[in-house]
C-alpha cells in the first residue's frame, strides 16, 4: 500500500519536474518584459525585416518541399528496390546532422569556391549570402521532417485500394491524385506542419551559409542572435513571437488530422438523411 503510493508520488514528482522545466523558460520570456513593451518592440524595423525574410524563405522552401517531396515520398513508399534502406537513411540524415555541418556542406557545394560554385558563377548567379541561400538552408534542414512523415503516410495506405483504382481504369497518375493523395492527406499535412515549424526556427545552417544581413538574409532566429547584445528587449519580443508561432503550428498539426477525420464522419449521417 505505502509502496504503491510512493511509486505514484514518484511518477507525479517526475512529471511535475519535467513540465516545469519545459514550460518555465517559455513563461520567463513573457514575464521578463511588460506586454506593452513587447508589442511596441514588434514595430521595430529589424523585426519587420526579419518577418518578411522569414515568411518569404519559409513559404518558398515549403512549396519546394511539398512539390518535390511528395512525389519522392510516394515513389520511395510504393516501390521496393535495391538500396531502398540506404535512400531512406540519406533522407533522414539531415534530421540528426548538426545544422552547422549542414551550413558548411551547403557552402562547400554552392559557395563561390564550392563544388557547383564555378558553374553558378559562370551563369552569373551567386547563391551564398543571398535570400536563395536562406531558402536552400531552410529546405535542406526542414525537408526530412516532411519526407519522413510523407513516406510513412503513403506506406500506410491499403495497397488493395491502389490496385482497385487501376482495375477500374485509372492510370498511375489518376490513382495518385484521386486515391493516394486524399487518403494520405492528413498525414502529409502533419508532416508539412512539422517541417514548416522547423524551417521557421532554422538558425545554424542559415548563419553559416547565408549570413545575417538585415533585410536580406536575417530571419527571426538570426535577428534574436543579432539583437541579443544590442537590445535584449527586442530579442525577447522576437522570442515571444516565435513561441506563439511555434505553438500555433504544433496545435494545428495535432488538430488537423482529427478535424479531417471528424468531418468525414460528421458529414455522412447528413448525407444519409438526405437520400432516404
Amino acid at each position: 500500500m505505502i509502496r504503491r503510493r510512493l511509486f505514484t508520488a514518484a511518477l507525479v514528482a517526475a512529471t511535475a519536474l519535467a513540465l516545469t522545466f519545459l514550460a518555465l523558460p517559455l513563461l520567463a520570456i513573457f514575464l521578463r518584459v511588460a506586454p506593452g513593451e513587447l508589442v511596441s518592440q514588434l514595430g521595430n524595423d529589424v523585426v519587420l525585416d526579419a518577418i518578411v525574410v522569414t515568411a518569404k524563405a519559409t513559404l518558398i522552401s515549403q512549396a519546394l518541399i511539398l512539390l518535390v517531396g511528395t512525389p519522392t515520398a510516394y515513389l520511395i513508399a510504393s516501390r521496393s528496390f535495391r538500396g531502398r534502406a540506404l535512400v531512406i537513411t540519406l533522407v533522414e540524415l539531415p534530421l540528426v546532422l548538426p545544422p552547422a555541418v549542414a551550413g558548411l556542406a551547403l557552402l562547400a557545394t554552392f559557395g563561390r569556391l564550392g563544388l557547383l560554385g564555378g558553374t553558378f558563377e559562370a551563369l552569373g548567379v551567386t547563391v551564398s549570402f543571398t535570400q536563395a541561400a536562406v531558402v536552400l538552408a531552410v529546405t535542406y534542414v526542414a525537408s526530412p521532417f516532411y519526407l519522413r512523415q510523407a513516406i510513412a503516410s503513403f506506406e500506410a495506405l491499403d495497397n488493395s485500394l491502389l490496385d482497385a483504382s487501376r482495375t477500374l481504369g485509372a492510370g498511375p497518375a489518376r490513382t495518385f491524385f484521386r486515391i493516394a493523395l486524399p487518403l494520405a492527406a492528413s498525414g502529409l499535412a502533419a508532416g508539412a506542419a512539422l517541417s514548416f515549424a522547423r524551417g521557421i526556427g532554422e538558425f545554424g545552417a542559415t548563419i553559416m551559409f547565408a549570413g545575417s544581413l538585415q533585410g536580406v538574409t536575417q530571419t527571426l532566429s538570426l535577428a534574436i542572435y543579432a539583437q541579443f547584445d544590442l537590445n535584449l528587449d527586442l530579442a525577447l519580443a522576437l522570442g515571444a513571437l516565435l513561441v506563439l508561432l511555434s505553438a500555433a503550428i504544433l496545435l494545428a498539426a495535432k488538430l488537423l488530422p482529427a478535424w479531417t477525420r471528424s468531418t468525414s464522419t460528421l458529414l455522412s449521417p447528413f448525407a444519409r438523411f438526405g437520400s432516404s
Binding site: 482497385a164 477500374l168 455522412s268
Partner: protein
C-alpha cells in the same frame, strides 16, 4: 467459345504457380487452402502481378504474352475485380465509388444490384453484404469482359452468409460474363460456381462440376477438401472383385474401386450409418470405436467415431440415445467409397 484463356507460370515464395485454365460464359471457382496461389491467379489476369512466362487472352485479345512482350497495364485490360474485403474507397460515397470507374452508368448499375438507396452512404456505414454488392457494382460499372472475385464471402457474418451467397449466385447467373472466383471454402464454391478447380501449391489438381469432384475425387486432397473422410492404407486385390485396403491399425476396409499399393479410402459423412451393433445389411465396412465427439447442427448431427465423421439426423441420435464416449459401429458400403491413389 471460351472467353478467358490462361496459361501462366509465376514464381511464388515456396512454390511455382503453374496453371492452364479456360473459362467460358460460366462461373469457375478456384478452391484451395490459403497460400495455394489463388489470389495470384486473379492478380495475374488483372495485370497486378507479372508472370514469368505464358499468356493470358480475353475474348481473343492478348492481355499478356511473355514471348511477344505484351503486358497490358491493369487499366487497359477490361477486367472487373472484386477484392477481398472489397477495397471500397473510404473517402468516397457509394455512388462516387461506382462512378470512379467512369462510363456514366453508376446509377444504372446501382439500380440493377438493388442498392440505389445506398448511393450517398459512406462505405464505413455498410454491412458486409452491402459492401459486397457495392464492390460488385463498382467492378461491373465499366462493362468488363471478365469478372474476378477474391474470397467474396470472407468478410461476411456467419448468419448472413447463406442468404448473401444465394443472392450472389443469382447475380452472377444474370451477368452472362465469364466469372472466376477464388475461395478457401468448398461449400461456397459448390453453391456459386458451375465448375470448380482445386488449386494446391500452385497446381490445379482437378477441375470439374462440384458433383464430379464429390463423386470422383482425383486424389486424397480433393476428397478431404470436398468434405470426405480420407483413411490412408495399402490396397490389394481381394476376393469377389473387391479391393481390400489395410489401414495403419491393421483393420481392413473394402472398396469397389480398383487399386493397388499405397491408397486412401474416401467416404462422405452422409454415406455413414451409426448403430450400436454391426447391422445385418449390405454394408461391408464396419468401424467399432467410441464416439469422440457429437455436434448437432440444425436437424443433423456430426458424429466422430474413431477416424470417421458420420452425419446422421438428430432424430436418430435421440432414438439410439447416442452420447460421447459410447462405443458404436460406423458402417458404410464398399460401393460408397472412392479409392484415391496416395503418392508420397
Amino acid at each position: 467459345m471460351d472467353a478467358l484463356h490462361l496459361d501462366v507460370a509465376l514464381p511464388l515464395r515456396p512454390f511455382r504457380l503453374e496453371l492452364a485454365l479456360a473459362v467460358g460464359r460460366e462461373t469457375v471457382a478456384l478452391v484451395g487452402p490459403s497460400g495455394a496461389g489463388k489470389t495470384s491467379v486473379l492478380r495475374t489476369i488483372a495485370g497486378l502481378a507479372r508472370p514469368e512466362r505464358g499468356r493470358v487472352a480475353l475474348d481473343g485479345r492478348l492481355l499478356f504474352d511473355a514471348a511477344a512482350g505484351i503486358d497490358l497495364p491493369p487499366e487497359e485490360r477490361g477486367v472487373g475485380y472484386v477484392f477481398q474485403d472489397y477495397a471500397l474507397f473510404p473517402h468516397m460515397t457509394v455512388e462516387q465509388n461506382v462512378a470512379y470507374a467512369g462510363g456514366g452508368r453508376a446509377g444504372e448499375v446501382l439500380d440493377r444490384l438493388g442498392i440505389a438507396a445506398l448511393a450517398d452512404a459512406q462505405p464505413g456505414e455498410l454491412s458486409g453484404g452491402e459492401r459486397q454488392r457495392v464492390g460488385l457494382a463498382r467492378a461491373l460499372a465499366r462493362d468488363p469482359d471478365v469478372l474476378l472475385l477474391d474470397e467474396p464471402m470472407s468478410a461476411l457474418d456467419a448468419h448472413t452468409r447463406t442468404g448473401v451467397r444465394a443472392e450472389l449466385r443469382r447475380t452472377l447467373d444474370d451477368l452472362d460474363l465469364p466469372v472466376l472466383l477464388v475461395t478457401h471454402d468448398f461449400q461456397d464454391a459448390a453453391v456459386l460456381a458451375d465448375r470448380v478447380g482445386v488449386l494446391v501449391e500452385g497446381r490445379l489438381l482437378q477441375v470439374g462440376t462440384p458433383g464430379e469432384l464429390v463423386a470422383a475425387p482425383s486424389d486424397a486432397f480433393v476428397a478431404s477438401f470436398t468434405g470426405a473422410n480420407v483413411l490412408a492404407g495399402f490396397a490389394r486385390r481381394g476376393a469377389g472383385g473387391l479391393t481390400e485396403v489395410t489401414l495403419g491399425d491393421g483393420s481392413i476396409l473394402y472398396s469397389v474401386d480398383e487399386g493397388e499399393g499405397p491408397a486412401s479410402v474416401a467416404v462422405y459423412p452422409w454415406e455413414i450409418s451409426i448403430a450400436r451393433e454391426p447391422p445385418h445389411d449390405s454394408s461391408l465396412n464396419h468401424v467399432r470405436r467410441p464416439i469422440t465427439s457429437l455436434v448437432r447442427i440444425g436437424n443433423r448431427a456430426r458424429v466422430q467415431v474413431g477416424p470417421l465423421v458420420g452425419e446422421v439426423t438428430t432424430a436418430s441420435v435421440e432414438r439410439l440415445g447416442l452420447h460421447e464416449g459410447e462405443t458404436v459401429v460406423a458402417s458404410f458400403k464398399a460401393a460408397a467409397t472412392h479409392l484415391v491413389s496416395r503418392e508420397s
